[in-house]
């Protein structure tokens, strides 16, 4: 089916099978591979994107549903060479190891700070509870998000 998506501020016209997931369209039709496949069931957070400024699992959304929303992927957060403050804080705090879950964490953090610019630690843990990380950088990610919320 023919669809027009709005991704990272641009209109993208696609022709995909009905019920194609937003995740597969991003990765396979639009070349936006920064959004990762982790479980296909919305249980790990690796595929989170911003849909109308909320962090959602792109594996659970069909492209058809997404056509009615403004979609932002991890590739759309930086402004040219300037990283989004959350991205910069993840680099500065070395809040990553393998990096597979990082895109999803960054998306969740951006969504959180958009609705709550000064979250306390519990709010950060709650907002990112759906982002699994096996390497174990939770503590660093919390620090990075706190730093992005109150830049020195």
């Amino acid at each position: 089916m023919k669809l027009a998506l709005t991704v990272n501020g641009e209109r993208r016209d696609i022709d995909v099978p009905p019920n194609a997931s937003l995740l597969s369209v991003l990765r396979d039709d639009l070349g936006l591979t920064g959004t990762r496949y982790g479980c296909g069931r919305g249980q790990c957070g690796a595929c989170y994107v911003l849909a109308d400024n909320r962090a959602v699992a792109s594996c659970l959304l069909t492209a058809d549903q997404a056509a009615r929303m403004e979609i932002t992927t991890v590739e759309g957060l930086a402004n040219g060479a300037d990283l989004h403050p959350v991205q910069q804080a993840f680099v500065d705090e070395d809040a990553l190891q393998c990096g597979y879950c990082t895109s999803g964490m960054v998306i969740s953090a951006v969504a959180l700070l958009a609705r709550d610019p000064k979250p306390d630690e519990t709010s950060i843990r709650d907002a990112l509870a759906g982002n699994l990380c096996r390497c174990g950088v939770y503590g660093r990610a919390i620090r990075a998000i706190q730093k992005a919320a109150s830049p020195a």
């Binding site: 194609a20 957060l77 910069q88 393998c98 990096g99 597979y100 960054v106 390497c135 174990g136 503590g139």
Partner: protein, 660 residues
């Protein structure tokens, strides 16, 4: 284990490129441990170039020297000296060339920021290459850069790839896109080892997007234009399987057999015998296995995540019937897999699908496939008996480790001893001991896992040390210290006690536990603080850790690795258990195999990196994960009086073990 390592050739280690960048080559692989960063730090310093200009190539089998693989936290220890010497030799050659070119003796020459300098003159390295690249056997005695001139080594640096990762630009295996690339999906048997009786692919072949249904022996898969099409068609393949139970091997390895252990046990004034139990657990990477294969008539190019690129090259060559030289393995960055990627499952399947369809194929395993078909950490039952003399010192120790095989490296007793028997011998001062490893069969597919058997053995040994201290009314810290003679070991244990304020009692429903070990030359000691609720729920509150990995290339990188090891290990100890029947894994999703989340992360993990700088660097990828389970179990005992000898430390188990 074969060792094909040849004398170190400079051209296989360091290349100065025409654009002034430096390429450093290694057969080791980075899964997030920060090897790429550490290697760049070493080469930048030794060659005297800005680190931004150093490009590290890992594991490309067409470019890098042969390497057996990336295991057991050896990588920095093995590679740092080699890369350092190669880079120093490159700088030496550049100085020689500059000396000839400028007609100046070498005492007038120096290097700075990628150039040879002499007085006011500056000759960039590239201008010294002429037509001749740097080459030659790296001498063992090449002189190294003095410490005070090192700018990067020993300093904290974030991962070099961090910027690419946070912007989504980093290319993981499944992000490779080749012209004409199709998608694969496998048709799975009911259990491993099943043989294919018959196959009807008529319906599958007629489905939209399907390019081929490929069968090679008992391997069956579908290649289609899109991934969902491949999956739908794979589900429509009608395969009839003949299940054949597969069992792991059996073996018995005496690891230490001192005389008269049983007599000394009988004669001891205090004796204690306990059994500790650990279930199998999953590596559970966030990114399931994936591979891209591009198989053509003349050869194959493989984009994979692997610990051992040359091993994969040989396996793919064998699978495809090609000479090894015709297979190029290009390791990509991959989700951390903590040992799981030692097996080249997805790569072999992708190669078969690509050959059978004539197209480059990306094979992405699903989450369910990852849980169901990956090798897992074996279960373990550890029986310990020890005797104390009247002064409370250990006089005899008997240890029986029952587990399944931990690697596919064969049944050589020596190999079994250092893999399935890793850390079975306690790190404490010599006392008469008998340590026996019993490899028992299992239908579960078991293999390499972070720290091999060390986490299991150290859980048992360090829990038991606490119990021994308890029965003889000694402080767990003091009891350990009286059995430690190694100075570096002693230091990390004493320091973790100081840093954590051992002896302070946190009060309330909280308690602290200590555990320590020596893992492949890395000394590590931890104190955990937990809170145990009335009903037995355990919350990990804080962890303190002191680690001595010898010379430290990147202190922040070490902290990150150790913190991660502790966090992952806390998840194993508090939450994880793989359920299986007849070789079939039952919990194949995050809902049925939960791991620690942001809500479970402790309030703090404080890691103190106190490396003995005069000692060679040792690994940090695994040691952090090794003592954590025992530190937590010991803390649960201190908090609640419940001694848990089985993990995971579930609420029900803890409640049941509470006294009164």
């Amino acid at each position: 284990m074969r060792d094909r390592r040849e004398p170190e050739k400079l051209e296989q280690r360091i290349r100065i490129e025409r654009d002034g960048t430096v390429t450093a080559l290694s057969g080791k692989i980075d899964f997030g441990q920060g090897l790429r960063t550490a290697f760049a730090q070493i080469v930048a310093d030794e060659l005297d170039v800005p680190i931004e200009r150093v490009h590290v190539v890992l594991g490309d089998t067409d470019q890098v020297p042969f390497d057996f693989g990336t295991f057991g936290s050896h990588s920095v220890a093995q590679e740092a000296p080699l890369l350092r010497k190669a880079a120093a030799f490159a700088r030496r050659q550049l100085l020689d060339r500059a000396s000839a070119k400028l007609g100046l003796t070498e005492d007038k020459l120096d290097t700075a920021a990628g150039a040879v300098v002499a007085g006011g003159k500056r000759v960039p390295y590239v201008e010294l290459l002429d037509s001749e690249p740097l080459a030659g056997t790296v001498p063992d005695d090449v002189s190294l850069m003095p410490d005070q001139r090192r700018k990067y080594t020993g300093r904290s640096m974030p991962h070099l790839e961090a910027r690419d990762i946070v912007t989504g630009r980093a290319t993981f295996v499944a992000d490779i896109r080749l012209p004409g690339m199709a998608r694969g999906a496998m048709v799975r048997p009911p259990a491993r080892g099943a043989k294919l009786r018959s196959l009807d692919d008529t319906a599958a072949k007629a489905m939209p997007g399907v390019i081929a249904v490929v069968r090679d022996g008992d391997v069956v898969g579908v290649v289609a234009e899109r991934e969902d099409q491949a999956r739908a068609a794979a589900a429509a393949v009608d395969a009839d399987w003949h299940a054949i139970p597969v069992e792991g091997p059996t073996a018995e390895v005496p690891m230490r057999s001192d005389a008269n252990v049983d007599e000394k046990l009988r004669a001891a004034s205090v004796r204690l015998t306990q059994t500790y139990v650990l279930p199998p657990i999953a590596s559970a990477p966030i990114g399931p296995s994936a591979a891209v294969a591009d198989v053509r008539g003349y050869g194959a190019t493989m984009y994979v995540g692997t610990h051992r690129p040359f091993g994969v090259r040989d396996q793919i060559a064998k699978t495809l019937g090609l000479p090894e030289k015709k297979v190029r393995v290009l390791p990509q960055i991959t989700s951390g897999t903590y040992g799981r990627n030692s097996a080249a499952d997805a790569a072999i399947e992708a190669a078969i699908l690509s050959k059978g369809s004539g197209r480059p194929v990306l094979l992405q395993w699903t989450r369910e496939e990852e849980f169901a078909w990956s090798p897992s950490r074996p279960e373990a039952v550890l029986e310990i008996a020890a005797g104390l003399n009247v002064d409370g010192g250990i006089v005899a120790w008997r240890y029986d480790e029952h587990t399944n095989v931990h690697t596919a490296a064969g049944l050589d007793p020596q190999v079994l001893g250092v893999t399935s028997g890793r850390n079975a011998i306690p790190p404490y001062a010599e006392f008469p001991a008998r340590v026996t490893l019993h490899i028992e069969p299992t239908r579960l597919r078991t293999a390499n896992f972070r720290s091999l058997a060390a986490a299991e053995n150290v859980f048992a040994i360090e829990s038991f040390m606490d119990e021994l201290a308890g029965v003889s009314a000694q402080d767990p810290l003091a009891f350990r210290l009286r059995h430690i003679t190694d100075k570096r070991f002693r230091r990390v244990v004493e320091h973790v006690a100081e840093r954590s304020g051992w002896g302070e009692r946190p009060g309330g429903r909280r308690g602290r536990g200590i555990a320590c070990t020596v893992y492949h030359g890395t000394y590590v000691a931890q104190v955990a603080e937990v809170e145990v609720s009335l009903s037995g729920a355990v919350r990990l509150v804080k962890v303190w850790c002191v680690v001595d990995p010898g010379e430290t290339v990147n202190p922040e990188g070490v902290r990150n690795q150790i913190e991660g090891g502790i966090q992952q290990s806390a998840s194993w100890a508090l939450k994880e258990e793989l359920l299986h029947r007849d070789g079939r894994v039952m919990n194949t999703g995050w809902d049925t195999y939960p791991i620690a989340t942001f809500r479970d992360a402790p309030e703090s993990i404080e890691v103190f990196v106190e490396g003995d700088e005069s000692a060679a660097p040792t690994g940090v990828g695994e040691p952090g994960a090794v003592p954590t389970a025992a530190a937590i179990a010991n803390a649960v005992f201190a908090a609640s009086g419940a001694r848990l000898r089985s993990v995971p430390l579930t609420r029900e188990r803890v409640r049941k073990a509470m006294p009164g």
